[in-house]
C-alpha cells in the first residue's frame, strides 16, 4: 500500500516535471542562448559558425531589436542577426552567457513576454569582460517553434 502510494507520488511528480507546456518549450529555447551563445577558448571557426546559426535561428525573421540606452530601435532579418552574432563572438576569446531571474508570461495564445537578466563573463581580445543587462523580449510560436520577435535591452542606469 505504502509502496503504491510512493510510486503514485513519484509518477505524479515526474509527469508534472516533464509534461510538455509552452513555458517549458520557451525555457528550452532560452537555455540554448546560454549553450550556443557561450564560447570556449578552443572553439574552432566552423563550430563558431554553427553556433551562431543556431543562435540566429532563435530569432524570428525579422526581429525588432531595441537598445534603450542608445535610443536605438531597428528591425533586422535573421541573416543580418546571424552576421552580427558572428562579429560579436569574434570579439571574445572566451565568453560565458547566463540568464537569471527569468519571468515568462503568456498573455495570449502563441505569444509570450519574457523578462530576465543576461550576464556575460569572459575574456576579450585584450581584457577581461563582465557585463550585465536586463532584457525584455517577446516570443511568438511560429510553425511550432518559439522565436524572438522583439528584444529590448532595458536601460537600468541612465546617464
Amino acid at each position: 500500500m505504502v509502496a503504491a502510494a510512493l510510486i503514485a507520488i513519484v509518477a505524479g511528480g515526474l509527469a508534472f516535471r516533464f509534461w510538455p507546456s509552452d513555458e517549458r518549450a520557451i525555457r528550452r529555447q532560452l537555455a540554448l542562448i546560454e549553450s550556443v551563445g557561450s564560447k570556449e577558448a578552443a572553439e574552432q571557426p566552423m563550430e563558431g559558425l554553427v553556433k551562431a546559426t543556431q543562435l540566429a535561428n532563435l530569432f524570428g525573421d525579422p526581429c525588432r531589436l531595441t537598445v534603450e540606452a542608445g535610443n536605438h530601435t531597428g528591425t533586422y532579418p535573421r541573416q543580418q542577426i546571424r552576421e552580427r552574432i558572428v562579429l560579436v563572438r569574434s570579439f571574445y576569446i572566451q565568453v560565458q552567457i547566463s540568464l537569471h531571474d527569468l519571468v515568462i508570461d503568456l498573455p495570449e495564445k502563441n505569444l509570450a513576454v519574457i523578462r530576465g537578466t543576461i550576464r556575460l563573463r569572459g575574456q576579450g581580445t585584450s581584457e577581461a569582460i563582465a557585463d550585465v543587462q536586463e532584457l525584455r523580449a517577446e516570443m511568438a510560436k511560429i510553425d511550432g517553434q518559439w522565436l524572438f520577435t522583439a528584444v529590448t535591452v532595458v536601460e537600468v542606469l541612465a546617464r
Binding site: H100, L157, R159
Partner: protein, 165 residues
C-alpha cells in the same frame, strides 16, 4: 562527564518535537537569507578598492524601509530579479545636478571630496539633473574609462537595500 542539559542539546532525541524545531530553524534561515540578509558574492572591479573582486558581503534589505537612501551610501540595485545585482554608490539625489570635471565629482556645482576614490580619473561628464524618483549612482573605481563604466540615474524602487559592511 558531559552535563545532561548539554548532552540533550548536542545529541537530542530524534522525536517529533525535535523535527519541528529543526523545521522551524530551517524555515527561519531560508527567510532570513532570502528576504532580509541576501548574500552577495562580488564580481567585477567597479567598486574597488571599497569592494574587491571576489569579495563577499550581505545586502541588508531592511536598510531603506524607514529611511531614504542618502548621498555616499553603497546600495544594491536589482535588474530583472535579485539573483544578479549591481553594487554602486549614491552620489546625488533627485533634483541634484551631477557633473564630472577631469575626474572630480561636482554635485549642485560644489566639489565633492570622495575619500573612497583612491585612483586618479579623467572622467568628464556634462551636468545633468537627477529626475524625480531616482538617484544617481557611480562606482568607486574611476580607472575604468567612463564609456565602459555603468553609472547613471536609477529608479529608487530598484534599490534592494544597503550593504551590511
Amino acid at each position: 562527564m558531559v552535563p545532561p542539559k548539554l548532552r540533550r542539546f548536542l545529541l537530542p532525541d530524534l522525536n517529533l518535537r525535535y523535527g519541528l524545531r529543526l523545521l522551524l530553524v530551517a524555515l527561519a534561515t531560508v527567510v532570513l537569507f532570502t528576504q532580509a540578509l541576501v548574500p552577495l558574492r562580488i564580481e567585477g572591479r567597479s567598486m574597488e578598492p571599497t569592494y574587491k573582486d571576489g569579495g563577499f558581503t550581505f545586502c541588508w534589505r531592511g536598510r531603506y524601509l524607514i529611511s531614504e537612501p542618502a548621498r555616499g551610501e553603497v546600495v544594491a540595485i536589482r535588474f530583472a530579479g535579485q539573483r544578479v545585482m549591481l553594487l554602486k554608490r549614491i552620489v546625488a539625489l533627485a533634483g541634484d545636478t551631477v557633473e564630472f570635471r577631469n575626474g572630480a565629482l561636482f554635485v549642485n556645482n560644489a566639489w565633492v571630496n570622495e575619500l573612497y576614490v583612491r585612483t586618479p580619473s579623467d572622467w568628464n561628464l556634462a551636468p545633468r539633473t537627477v529626475e524625480p524618483g531616482k538617484v544617481y549612482v557611480v562606482g568607486d573605481n574611476r580607472t575604468v574609462p567612463l564609456d565602459r563604466h555603468q553609472i547613471g540615474q536609477v529608479e529608487r524602487e530598484r534599490i534592494v537595500g544597503g550593504v551590511l559592511w
